[in-house]
């Protein structure tokens, strides 16, 4: 009888464990604490493509899959861990272009340094006389929203001659399209050139351009879009399928926008007002709107990226002497600030801010601003300590 009771008790305990096991597992972090995840409301078919893209984004390339032989990194996710900003480990080096006449070092490995190599090969080094700049990989969340901002809206924000006299101009990077790209529905052309919007110098047209370039220049992976091997300079068979490239593009388009935290906190609200008062918002535009998108959930949406997608003169201290497209060496595209406060969650617990990760705190980053942002920086320096803290708290909430 005792045995029977023991057996029944054991079985009941096991059933209870099986039924309630999820309660003993770690809860998911709240949505505003993480950067990854799809935008809400995708169809089932879109969710499937999102997952396929997620897998392709995480795929680690090896020499047998075509990695390199020269490369910077071996997967998309190793530069954009958790879909957030990169770490100095994955910082890129671009070299060879010091004015708008184009890159003079394309035959010597430009525009990107592949400073790593699979065993048996020697990596590249920067050729003598080439200017260069280092680029920390950006967060990739919310990129779909940025992709579908209309060219008309970007031009509306541009003020190349500073007509409003606020010291802030802002120009688009007009560049010819690469052969494999098509102008978007929202595009405006000027002398056969189109507004490019992605990258530190706004030299990538869209997410396909960005993705194909990353496969080729970061990992040494050729595709039908970009068949030239970075090592030999010759065309070779594609090492990634068109489908994988398209899936990654879709994944990037449909990653959710970062969600602001503590937005009703009085100090955060005060910081937001100060952000506008000292004219940070002249470049870091809080609100933009998408135009038409073939992805229904991205069409005509209002969102809050804190960028104008334009190039601005950032002063001599941030002028590395290197540039891309029509940008000057001292011009940088306004980086979106959304997700800024979550940067340490993907940068190994620290901040590596500005284009090359040279700033280790938000305040350091603010104080590195110059050029068109000089007056805002001075206004920041003149704030009371409590006001500075409120402004930084607001930036951390993004």
């Amino acid at each position: 009888m005792r045995s029977l009771i023991l057996i029944v008790s054991t079985v009941i305990i096991l059933i209870l464990i099986i039924q309630s096991c999820e309660k003993f597992q770690p809860a998911a972090p709240s949505e505003d604490e993480i950067l990854d995840g799809p935008i809400e409301g995708l169809t089932n078919a879109e969710n499937i493509q999102f997952l396929n893209g997620d897998r392709a984004f995480s795929e680690v390339y090896t020499s047998s899959k075509g990695l390199g032989p020269l490369f910077v990194t071996n997967s998309c996710v190793s530069c954009h861990s958790g879909d957030g900003k990169g770490h100095p480990f994955s910082t890129l080096t671009r070299f060879g272009q010091s004015d708008t006449s184009g890159n003079q070092f394309l035959t010597m490995g430009g525009p990107q340094l592949q400073h790593r190599a699979i065993p048996g090969y020697e990596p590249e080094s920067i050729p003598e006389g080439a200017s260069f700049s280092r680029f920390t990989p950006p967060a990739v969340t919310g990129l779909g929203y940025l992709q579908y901002v209309t060219d008309a809206d970007i031009l509306e924000m541009a003020d190349p001659n500073d007509m409003d006299n606020d010291g802030v101009s802002g120009v688009p990077n007009w560049m010819p399209l690469k052969d494999f790209l098509q102008p978007s529905t929202n595009a405006i052309s000027q002398n056969g050139k189109y507004i490019h919007r992605f990258g530190k110098k706004a030299s990538a047209y869209d997410l396909l351009d960005q993705t194909v370039g990353a496969y080729n220049q970061d990992m040494g992976i050729t595709s039908t879009f970009s068949p030239i091997d970075t090592y030999s300079g010759l065309s070779i068979d594609p090492e990634v399928s068109d489908k994988d490239v398209r899936d990654v593009v879709f994944y990037l388009e449909t990653l959710k926008a970062p969600i602001q935290r503590n937005k009703d906190d009085p100090e955060v609200v005060q910081g937001k007002n100060l952000f506008v008062d000292i004219n940070c918002a002249a470049c870091h535009k809080p609100t933009l709107t998408t135009g038409y998108s073939p992805i229904d959930k991205l069409s005509n949406k209002t969102f809050h990226p804190y960028t104008d997608l334009l190039l601005h003169d950032m002063g001599s201290n941030l002028d590395d002497g290197y540039t891309e497209g029509a940008a000057q060496t001292y011009e940088w595209r306004t980086p979106p600030l959304w997700g800024l406060g979550l940067s340490p969650t993907t940068q190994g617990g620290q901040y590596f801010l500005m284009h090359d990760g040279r700033a280790n705190t938000i305040e350091e980053a603010i104080l590195m601003h110059g050029g068109e942002a000089q007056s805002s920086k001075l206004l920041y320096e003149n704030l009371a300590e409590q006001e500075k803290n409120a402004l930084i708290k607001f930036l951390e909430s993004l």
Binding site: C21, E22, V60, Q350
Partner: protein, 406 residues
């Protein structure tokens, strides 16, 4: 290979069927005398038939688990982890053959884990040849599911070292004892690792990937032997300590006589220990491993050149008596602590620590109706950091499993 194995077992089954007389079957129980870890390959229950020189044995492991990481779970998973068959035979006096064939994940992976001819010249001088199980650490040789109180193998044993890592090779082993002391050694030369340990789609230095290379039983990637050596000493009251080394050139540095790369070595050191505390019968076992792999400086630091990790298990019998009709049943409480760092080092760019590490604790309850069978319920709590040291992924969940020799 599958076909050959099937034919062998069909023939053996037919033989048993045609002569069935259960009184002639004899179960050889595990040897309970003073043993070292190196004896694990023979320290298993076998079924023999009369004077037939072949003995059979094996074990199976079946699990249920429900594990989640940061709110994401694959749900209920039912797994036939593995079924392993042993065939042993005494070919003649002092010449033995033993093989171990493992079917993993429902037959998705079939591997000869051990198949060696052992020739005894002297207790301290035995020749072993065939597919040998490299004696690195303790778990690799002593891995049978029914011997452990946990449904999962230790992480360090399967993701730092390749558990059930075996290669074609030759070597010597022997042991001796005096009073309460026992000493054993093993020394083997075998095939070994390959370039994929630092060029794999896991994005980390990972020795176990070489298990996926079936050609290692016929062709050594480097053309150089992998040397494995172990010394072990046991005191009846203190326990057993083992020191082991495994190393050699792992990469294909030449092909067709043409030099392709520098020779790159790996070196693995391990220490293992086990003891049973007298009177309270607490069983403690563990091992710790240090791995050094030569990785080209111009390659990526994602593939680390230093790794280390290990585990410790504590098993406390709490009830030993007749239970549910089993005369010699045991109920145990157990606990496993494990740690693995796949990339010990600092970033060249920042000088900061490279993470890529894991901590896990696993309390467990196990019930043994006999020493050959174990029912086990485990709860894993695990924290794993990525290469950059970002917020750890938290994993937890229950697993329940049965493992038994047959």
């Amino acid at each position: 290979m599958k076909k050959r194995i099937t034919i062998v077992f069909v023939l053996l089954s037919a033989l048993s069927y045609s002569q069935i007389d259960s009184t002639l079957f004899k179960r050889t129980e595990k040897d309970s005398s003073l043993q070292l870890n190196m004896d694990a390959v023979y320290d298993r229950p076998f079924l023999s038939y009369g004077k037939f020189p072949v003995s059979l044995g094996g074990y199976a492991e079946v699990n249920w688990q429900h594990i989640g990481t940061d709110g994401v779970s694959e749900g209920h998973q039912f797994q036939m982890r593995r079924m392993t068959l042993f065939v042993a035979s005494t070919i003649s006096r002092k010449i033995k053959f033993l093989s171990e064939i493992e079917f993993e994940e429902g037959g998705k992976e079939i591997a000869i884990e051990f198949a060696s001819i052992d020739v005894e010249f002297h207790p301290l001088f035995n020749l072993r040849s065939g597919i040998i199980m490299n004696p690195i650490g303790a778990f690799n040789q002593n891995h049978d599911g029914p011997k452990w109180e946990f449904t999962d193998r230790p992480v360090s044993a399967v993701q730092l070292l390749p558990a059930t890592w075996s290669n074609a090779g030759f070597g010597l082993f022997g042991k001796t004892y005096k009073g309460d002391w026992m000493f054993g050694y093993e020394f083997y030369l075998s095939g070994g690792f390959d370039d994929e340990i630092i060029d794999n789609d896991l994005g980390k230095t990972f020795l176990p990937v070489s298990k996926d290379n079936p050609e290692r039983f016929t062709e050594s990637a480097s053309g150089r032997p992998l040397t494995t050596a172990k010394l072990a000493i046991r005191n009846k009251y203190v326990g057993e300590i083992g020191l082991s080394y495994m190393g050699g050139v792992y990469n294909t540095y030449q092909d067709d006589g043409i030099i392709l790369d520098d020779k790159r070595r790996l070196n693995v050191f391990a220490i293992d220990y086990n003891t049973t505390i007298p009177k309270i019968n607490t069983f403690i076992t563990g091992e710790f491993v240090w791995i050094h792999v030569e990785v080209p400086e111009s390659y990526t630091q994602q593939y680390g050149n230093m790794q280390h990790g290990g585990f410790i298990d504590v098993v406390q019998p709490v009830l030993q008596r007749k239970m549910f009709g089993w005369e010699d049943a045991t109920l145990n409480l157990a606990f496993r602590l494990e740690y693995v760092d796949w990339n010990v080092g600092k970033f060249d760019e920042t000088g900061g620590n490279i993470a890529d590490d894991l901590w896990s604790v696993m309390p467990a309850i196990s019930f043994r109706p006999s020493q050959q069978t174990v029912f086990r319920l485990n709860y894993r709590i695990q924290r794993q950091q990525d290469f950059l040291g970002n917020v750890p992924a938290n994993t937890a969940g229950f697993s329940f499993g049965i493992s038994s020799y047959f």
